[in-house]
C-alpha cells in the first residue's frame, strides 16, 4: 500500500496541497482529475519523490534498503529528458543507471522512432513515447502518468496505452494517472479521485461513481467521461459563485 498521509506541499507561496491523504493498493489504477490549478501534478510529484512535502508523510510500504525512486516510473508533464543525446545513447545511460539487461523497446520500434535520432530533434509526441518506453523497461512497482499522452497522435496513443495495459497485466504495478481528457483512459482506471480547490472532493471506484452523492445531486446521467467533465464544470461554477 502506497500512502500519502496529511501531505501539505507547495513551491514557496501558499500551499498547493493542504493536508491531503491518499492510499493506493498494489496493482490498483487510480485516476486523479479535477480543474486546473488544484495540485494534481503536484500530487504526482510528491508520489514520485521529486517534490518533498512541507508537512505529512509519503510511505510506499516497500523494503527500506532501496531508494524507492528505483521502483517508480514517472512520466512528468514536461518530458525534460536530455535533448542532446541520441535515443540509443539515452537508452544505454538509462539501462546502465538502473542496472537493466539489454532488451528491445517495442514501443519505439512500433512507432518507427530511429535509434540514432537526437531527443531534441524528435517531435513532442515521440519524446513522450521514448520516455514512456524507458520507464516501462524498469518494470516499476508504481507508475505515475501525468497528462501527456494527449500530445501523442491517436494511433501512437493507442500503442502507448496498449504497452501500459500490458505492463499492468504482467507486473501488477500500482498506477496513478492524472487525466483531463477521459475518452480512452476512462477504462484504465478502477478508481477516480476528484481533486478540487479545497482538497479531495470525491474518491470512488469507477463503477460506483454514478451512485456518489455529488453525481446524484447534479443529476448526471452519463458515462464516466461525461460525469467527470460535468464535475469539473460544477467545480468552476462553485468557485466563481461561492455559496
Amino acid at each position: 500500500m502506497i500512502r500519502l498521509d496529511n501531505v501539505t506541499c507547495g513551491y514557496g507561496g501558499s500551499p498547493v496541497l493542504s493536508r491531503v491523504s491518499l492510499s493506493v493498493a498494489e496493482g490498483e489504477t487510480v485516476m486523479i482529475t479535477g480543474p486546473n490549478g488544484v495540485g494534481k501534478s503536484s500530487m504526482l510529484r510528491v508520489l514520485a519523490g521529486s517534490l518533498v512535502p512541507s508537512k505529512g508523510n509519503v510511505d510506499y510500504g516497500w523494503p527500506e534498503e532501496r531508494d524507492p525512486r528505483h521502483l517508480i516510473g514517472y512520466l512528468p508533464d514536461c518530458t525534460c529528458i536530455y535533448r542532446s543525446l541520441r535515443v540509443n545513447q539515452l537508452e544505454r545511460l538509462h539501462r546502465e543507471s538502473y542496472g537493466l539487461p539489454r532488451s528491445p523497446l517495442p514501443l519505439l520500434e512500433k512507432a518507427s522512432i530511429p535509434e540514432s535520432a537526437r531527443i531534441g530533434e524528435l517531435s513532442g509526441g515521440h519524446r513522450v513515447l521514448v520516455h514512456l518506453s524507458l520507464i516501462l523497461s524498469t518494470r516499476p512497482r508504481l507508475i505515475l502518468l501525468d497528462e501527456v499522452l494527449n500530445t501523442v497522435d491517436p494511433y501512437l496513443r493507442d500503442l502507448a496505452l496498449q504497452e501500459i495495459v500490458t505492463a499492468m497485466a504482467d507486473t501488477k504495478p500500482a498506477v496513478v494517472m492524472v487525466n483531463l481528457v477521459f475518452g480512452e483512459t476512462a477504462a484504465l482506471a478502477e478508481r477516480v479521485v476528484f481533486l478540487d480547490y479545497d482538497g479531495i472532493k470525491l474518491d470512488e471506484p469507477v463503477d460506483q461513481l454514478r451512485h456518489n452523492p455529488l453525481v446524484q445531486a447534479a443529476g448526471i446521467e452519463k458515462g464516466i467521461p461525461g460525469m467527470l467533465t460535468e464535475l469539473i464544470h460544477i467545480a468552476h461554477g462553485e468557485r466563481r459563485n461561492p455559496q
Binding site: G27, E28, T29, D158, L161, Q162, V165, T166, M168, A169, D170, F182, G183, E184, A186, A187, L188, A189, E190, V206, D207, R210, E221, K222, G223, I224, P225, G226
Partner: protein, 129 residues
C-alpha cells in the same frame, strides 16, 4: 470481437459480460471455446486487466465460463446456461422496448395492441392509441 464504449452509462465489465453472453447464445463462442486471455483482451481494448478479470470471474460464477488452471477461461460446455441466457436477453429486450415506447408517449394499450398485431401479422392500425 468486443466493443467497449466508455461514454456509455453501462460499466465496462457489464458491457463485456453482455457481449460474452450474447456470443455464447448466438453460437459465436461455441462450447469449450477458449476466451482471449485477460492480458491480450485488456491490451486490445485498452481496458484495465482487473476489469476483464472481474467480468470473466463473474461469468464463471454465473456458469457461462469455466476456468482451467494455467490455460485460461473457456465457454462452459453445459447447455442449460444457453437457454437461461436466451430468456434473460429476451427479458432485457422487452424491458428496453417497453421503456423506449413509453418514452415516445405510446400508451400501454397501444403497445399491447401493436405487439399483438405484429405477432399475428395483421397490418398495424394507426387509428388507436
Amino acid at each position: 470481437m468486443f466493443r467497449i464504449d466508455t461514454g456509455s452509462p453501462v460499466p465496462v465489465y457489464e458491457q463485456l459480460k453482455r457481449q460474452v453472453r450474447l456470443g455464447i447464445v448466438t453460437g459465436g463462442f461455441p462450447p469449450d471455446y477458449r476466451m482471449p486471455s485477460i492480458r491480450d483482451l485488456a491490451a486490445q481494448l485498452t481496458v484495465n486487466p482487473n476489469t476483464i478479470a472481474k467480468a470473466y470471474q463473474q461469468l464463471e460464477a454465473e456458469g457461462y465460463l469455466v476456468s482451467r488452471a494455467g490455460s485460461g477461461f473457456f465457454v462452459n460446455p453445459g447447455e442449460h446456461r444457453v437457454i437461461e441466457t436466451r430468456k434473460q436477453l429476451f427479458a432485457e429486450l422487452a424491458d428496453e422496448f417497453v421503456a423506449r415506447a413509453l418514452e415516445l408517449g405510446v400508451s400501454p394499450e397501444r403497445i399491447l395492441n401493436d405487439l399483438e398485431a405484429a405477432l399475428t401479422g395483421r397490418s398495424i392500425s394507426d387509428t388507436t392509441g
